[in-house]
Symmetry: C2
Subunit: 188 residues, 2 copies
DNA sequence: ACCTGAACACCGTTCAAGT
DNA sequence: ACCTGAACACCGTTCAAGT
């Protein structure tokens, strides 16, 4: 059972500094970075980090919270766009999101199926939004009707994973190629 | 300078058993598996493993040698096939190859650009074969002419990486989608 | 209620001693 | 020439003691 009432002021400050430094370190070194290093940069002992975030994934999850909300909101807003443009923008959005830190895409990919992962809920939410946009695009007749929600997830995961091994430009080209592969082939 | 003449019989036997067990362990646990475990299963001390294979990549490289030759030969043989079918088969082949062990695709992706990697030479060779098949398919008019050799590498890497996070069926669907994205869009 | 940091566990890598 | 395995280094994680 979590402690009730407001947390102590120093605890709040420590939590905030841990998140700030974790973001910086994960950006530089990926999600596998040393937790010791993060604690040291935040000016706290390693035990304090574990006190706030019992697992690496819990830390990552806390770090992604704000960003998640932004992506969810953007996804919902895409309902106003033309179906195929909306889907394409969504793919670009989620790929970039999953590539925030090197190593994150793999955790998100596994988080979709692993209900015990702290990242599971946000993965499910993303899948739902993607599914809505996908169905709309299929109904509009621009996306191949056999495309599944799982395809969309796999495709996003693949592009995000690949992004860790090439330039952003090359990764964008892959997104473009893959999206083209989803389109219904009409006489041009 | 390497030792001249034939290696000692026991050394040869150890090397062979190390390769056999490494293959089994990497298949089960991926390329990050414990080298201690491999040595133990092969019935030798950890120092013996390091004596034969100074780095994890050297061990992987030795492990891939035979398989590499098979893939190169298959790639060369594809010159006899219709250009687009040949390219598609090549993509499937290389994706499967890069997904032999979980974690291998990432090493191969980095090995292409890292000349100091023991896996570099085979990566370059694969790129060459892919490039030949790609140009032929472009010349035949079935593949979009702006497609580059780098696109092919990124695409293969992406599919192989994704394969570690889904079923083989789902991964095959991704290959199909991506390949469709390469095709010149004609009136069907 | 929260923080500290020593202690423990685990694993990769090296190298002096042995055969 | 090759093998052994103890020794070292490094890092993730826990938890008793402190404030």
């Amino acid at each position: 059972m979590p402690p009730s009432g407001r947390p102590r002021a120093d605890a709040r400050a420590n939590r905030l500094r841990l998140l700030t430094e974790a973001d910086a370190v994960f950006r530089e070194q990926g999600t596998g970075a040393s937790l010791e290093a993060i604690a040291k940069r935040a000016g706290v002992a390693i035990g304090t980090l574990y006190g706030h975030f019992p697992t690496r994934r819990a830390l990552l999850s806390a770090l992604m919270t704000e960003r998640n909300e932004a992506v969810f909101a953007a996804g919902d807003a895409l309902s106003a766009e033309p179906p195929d443009r909306a889907l394409r923008t969504w793919i670009q959005l989620t790929v970039t999101h999953a590539a925030t830190y090197s190593g994150l895409a793999a955790l998100l990919a596994d988080g979709t199926d692993d209900a015990s992962s702290e990242l599971h809920a946000s993965c499910v939410r993303m899948t739902e939004i993607g599914d809505t946009l996908l169905r709309r695009a299929i109904d509009a007749g621009t996306i191949h009707p056999t495309t599944t929600s799982a395809d969309l997830n796999t495709l996003t995961t693949a592009c995000a994973l690949a992004r860790e091994h090439t330039t952003a430009e090359q990764a964008d080209r892959l997104v473009a190629i893959t999206f083209t592969g989803l389109l219904v082939r009409t006489s041009q």
